[in-house]
Symmetry: D2
C-alpha cells in the first residue's frame, strides 16, 4: 500500500501543475480526473501525456468510470463504445482499475433500477476484461443519503450481494474509510475479502458519530476519530497492496496551501500504512 | 397453440387417473405436478412413465421448477444439482420449458432479494442450456399482493427489466391472462415479444375489475370478462405456438365433474384459439 | 423415436408435393431443405407455411444450418445475422435442432481450420441459445474421405473432443448409422452420451465392409448389413426420443416409386425402433 | 518498456542471491521461476517474500504458468485448483500476466490436441479473470521444431487464429524476438496488435539465418543480427509498456560473470528501448 494524491486535497485544476505538485510532495501514485487526461491527450497527443507521467516517476492510480450509468440507453451505449480506448490510455499510464459509486437510496422502482444498473455494470466489466482491468464499486455509508424512497447499497454486505446481480468476475469494491465507518463495519469485514475484490481505496476522516457524519464534510486522514489503522489493516490482511488515495470531500476550505496538505497527508498515510502493517 | 389440461381443473391427485381423464377429454398437452411424475418414476421406472404418456398420445407441457429459490444456499445448491436429471426426464416426456413465479412485492431489502434471485435464476438457466430448455418467469398482477414493503415484479414491463439482472439468454415469460389483465396490459404488449421469450401460457378468467381480482378466486376461461381472444391473439402474433393451460386457482368448488370441466375448457380453448388466429 | 421422411428418398423437389407424400405415407416428422421452406414463405407468407404443416399434421424435424461456415468472414457474418429469424421460422414448424456436418480430413493448416470453425460454431450456438435450439454436428466416417492432408473429425470420439474447442453448452451430435458403422463404433459408444447431446439421427445402410463403404452409395435402412437395431438401441438407451430420418445418399436410382420407398422405409423404421426398444 | 532480469542470464539458483544481483545491476523487473518463490514462501511465509521484493524495490514481471496443460485430466484439474492462490501471491509481488508456450508441431491428432488445449487454456484464463490477470501464449518459431507429424502454432498469425479456439477475452501473446525473427515477421505485425494482447516480452538474439537458428543456442540481445529495435518499436507502437526480459537459452556457457552479463544486458536493453521509442 502506498499513498496516492487526490485532487480534492489541492487547488490545482489542470494536469501539469497537479503532476508537478505530486512529484514535489513525494507521491508515486496520483488520482486524476479523466477530463484532465483527455484534454492533455487531445492537445498534445498520448505520447506527450505518457511523458508527463514518466518524467515525474508517477503512476495513474485509477480511472473514474467515464460512462454515465443512469442516462438513456443510446447515451450509455455511446459512452460504452468509447470506454476501451479510454481505459487503454489509462492502462498505459498505470491504471488497473475503473471505479464508480452506488447510491444508498433511490426513488426509482427497485427492480428496474437494480436490474438495469447490474446489466450496465456487467457490460462495462466485459469491455474491460481483455485489458485485465477490474471494476471497483464504492458503497456509500452516510445516513443522510438514505432518505430516498427505497434503500439500495448502504454497506459492504449490500455490495457483496449486488455483485451477484452483476455476475461478472472482475467486479469488486472501492473501499472508503468514510463509508466503512458510517456503515458500522469492522476490520474483519474487510480482511475477509479475497484480495482481488479490493480494486481501490479512499481514505479520509471525521469527528462525527457514524450516524451523523456528512458525506460532503470530511476531514483529512488523521484529523478525526475513524480507526484508520484498523481500516488499513483490514485491507492489508485481505491482500490489498495498491494505492490509498485521500479523497477529502469538503465544503469549507481546508487550511494551509495545497502543497502543505499534500505533504502532510503523504506523511500521515505512510505512518498509518506502517502501523497497519505492524512495522511500527 | 393448443389446449393443455391443468390439475387445478380436476379432482385427480395422482398421475394415471389424471392422464386417463386427459385422454378421454381430448387433450394432447398436460400440465403435471413434478411430484406425481417423480412418484411414478420411483415406483415403476422411467420407461414405465414414458409409456404412460405415449400410450395415451400425451405430451408433458412444462416442468414447474423443482428448486426452491428462496431457501438457504446449501438447500438451493442441493436442489440445483438434482435439476438436470429431473429436467432430462421431463424433456423426454415432451417438456421444453421450466417455469416459476415471482412475487409482486416483498419485505426483504431490494438489493439482496433481487440480486440473489437473479443469480439463482441465472444458475438454473445455465443448467438448462445444454438441454435446449428455457426458463419462463410468471409475473403476478393481482393488486392485493402488492402490499408488502417493497414492490418487485408486477407487470410484463417489470419482468422485462428483471431479465437484464438475470442475464441468461434462455429466460422468458410465463404469460397468464389473469396477470396480464390485472396489470392493465394490452394485446400489443404481448405481440411485441420475440416468440422465444414466451415459454408457457396460463389462461383463466374473472368478472372483477383489474384492481379487485383476487389471485385465488379465478374463473374458468370464458366465464368472465377478460378479453381472452385479444390475450391469445397477442401471443399468437408474437409467434407463440405452444400449449395453453387453464390454471384456475379457486377457493369455492368449481361446478360439475372434473371430466365435464376438462371437456368444456378444451372446447372453449379451441374456440378462443381459432378466434385469436382469425380462423372464425 | 419416430420415422422421419427425408428428401433423398423421394423425387419431389418442392414443398407441397413433398408434404403431401409425407402425409400419404404416414409420416409425422419431415426433414425439408431450408430453401424449399424459404421459397414458400416468400411467396405466400409464414402463416401459409405453417398451415401447410398443420393441415397435414406434420412436424419439421430439423433445420440444416443455413450458414456457410467456410466462407469469408463478411459472408459468414451476413448469414449469421439472418440465422435467428430463419431458426425462429423453423422452430414454429417444430424444429428444435440445427445441424451441419464436419469433414473427416482437410488440406488447410489444422490450427487455423479448427480454431476458426470452433469459433464460428460457437457463434451459431450462441445465436440459438435464446430459442432453446441445439446444434448437432455430424461426424463423417467413410474412409475414402480421409485422404486430405490432415485428419479432422472421423469418429464420435473425435467429435467429443471438438466440442471442447467449441465450448458452447448446446452443441451435440447428429448421429448417422453410416458414419457410426464406418467409424467402427459400438452400441455403448452411443448409449453413454447424455440424452441432450444427441440432436438428430440419420439412418441408412450398406453391404460393404466399414473400410469400403462409399459415402454417396448408401442403401435404404434394412437393405444392408449395418446392425441398425443396435444403433437405434444405443440412441434409445442414451435417452434420444426424437425423429429418425432415412438419409439415403445415392448415385444410381433407387428402385420403385418415391411413395413406395417412403412407405417401405417408414414401416421398416417402425419395426427397427420397436426392436430397439425391446417391444418385439 | 523496461529491462527485466531473466534467470537464464545468471548462475544463481535461488531467490535471495538472485534478487540481490538484480538490485545491484540496476533492475526493477525480475522474472523468477515459480518454484523459487514457492520454496521461500513455504519456508518463511508470504510476508517475508513480499519484503524481499519491496526492500529491493523489485517487481515480479510474470508468472510462468504452474499448470501442466498436457497431463491427465485429474492432474490438470488439481493444478488448476491451485492456480488462483498461486496467481494471487504473484499478483501481490507485481505480476499481471501468466505465460506458457505452444509447440510448433505435434504428433497427436490435431482435433484432440488443439481442442483439449484450447479448452484447458480457456479454463486457466477464466480462473485468472477475477484477478485482472492475462494469459500470454508464446509461439515458437525455430524451424528445427517443426518436424513432428502435424504443424501447430508457428507464427503470430497462427496464434491469432488459435485465440479463436480459446475464446477467452484475457488471452494474448508472449512476444519473443527469437520467434518473431525465425517466423519471418515484421514490425507492423506486432504494431497492429491491440496493446492488451501483448502480455509479456522476451528478447534475445542470433547470428543465424531465420531458418537455421536453433532454439537452444541464443545470443544475448545485441550480439546477433535480429533487428531488435524494429522488434521493440513494433511492440511500443502497439502500446506495450511492460517488462522486456532477456531470456537467453544457451548450451555453451555465456562469457563473463553473471553480474557482468546482467549489467551489460540491462544497459543494452535501455539503449534498444530508447532507440525504439525514438528518443535517440
Amino acid at each position: 500500500m502506498e499513498p496516492c494524491l487526490h485532487p480534492t486535497l489541492v487547488d490545482e485544476t489542470s494536469l501539469v501543475p497537479y503532476l508537478d505538485l505530486a512529484r514535489e510532495t513525494g507521491y508515486r501514485y496520483v488520482d486524476v480526473p479523466f477530463s484532465w487526461l483527455e484534454a492533455e491527450a487531445e492537445r498534445h497527443g498520448e505520447a506527450y501525456l505518457e511523458d508527463l507521467f514518466r518524467a515525474r516517476g508517477l503512476v495513474l492510480a485509477n480511472l473514474g468510470l467515464p460512462v454515465n450509468l443512469y442516462e438513456s440507453e443510446p447515451s450509455f451505449l455511446r459512452e460504452l463504445a468509447l470506454l476501451p480506448d479510454r481505459a487503454r490510455l489509462c492502462a498505459r499510464l498505470g491504471a488497473r482499475g475503473v471505479t464508480t459509486f452506488l447510491w444508498p437510496s433511490v426513488d426509482e422502482a427497485p427492480v428496474r433500477y437494480i436490474s438495469q444498473l447490474a446489466r450496465r455494470i456487467r457490460q462495462v466489466a466485459v469491455e474491460l476484461m481483455p485489458l485485465g482491468m477490474r471494476v471497483g464499486l464504492e458503497y456509500v455509508g452516510p445516513h443522510h443519503l438514505r432518505g430516498r424512497t427505497y434503500p439500495f447499497v448502504q454497506s459492504l454486505a449490500d455490495l457483496k450481494t449486488f455483485w451477484e446481480a452483476v455476475g461478472a468476475p472482475n467486479v469488486g469494491v472501492l473501499a472508503d474509510s468514510y463509508h466503512w465507518y458510517t456503515a458500522g463495519e469492522s476490520e474483519d469485514d474487510l480482511a475477509e475479502l479475497p484480495a482481488e475484490k479490493i480494486v481501490y481505496v479512499h481514505i479520509n476522516d471525521t469527528n462525527d458519530a457514524p450516524q451523523d457524519a456528512h458525506d460532503g464534510r470530511r476531514l483529512m486522514p488523521g484529523d478525526g476519530c475513524i480507526p484508520l489503522v484498523s481500516f488499513l489493516r483490514g485491507l492489508y490482511r485481505a491482500g490489498y497492496r495498491g494505492p490509498v488515495a485521500a479523497e477529502v470531500l469538503h465544503e469549507a476550505p481546508l487550511g494551509g496551501t495545497g502543497a502543505s496538505r499534500a505533504l502532510r497527508v503523504r506523511e500521515r498515510l505512510e505512518s498509518l500504512i506502517q502501523l497497519a502493517k505492524g512495522e511500527r
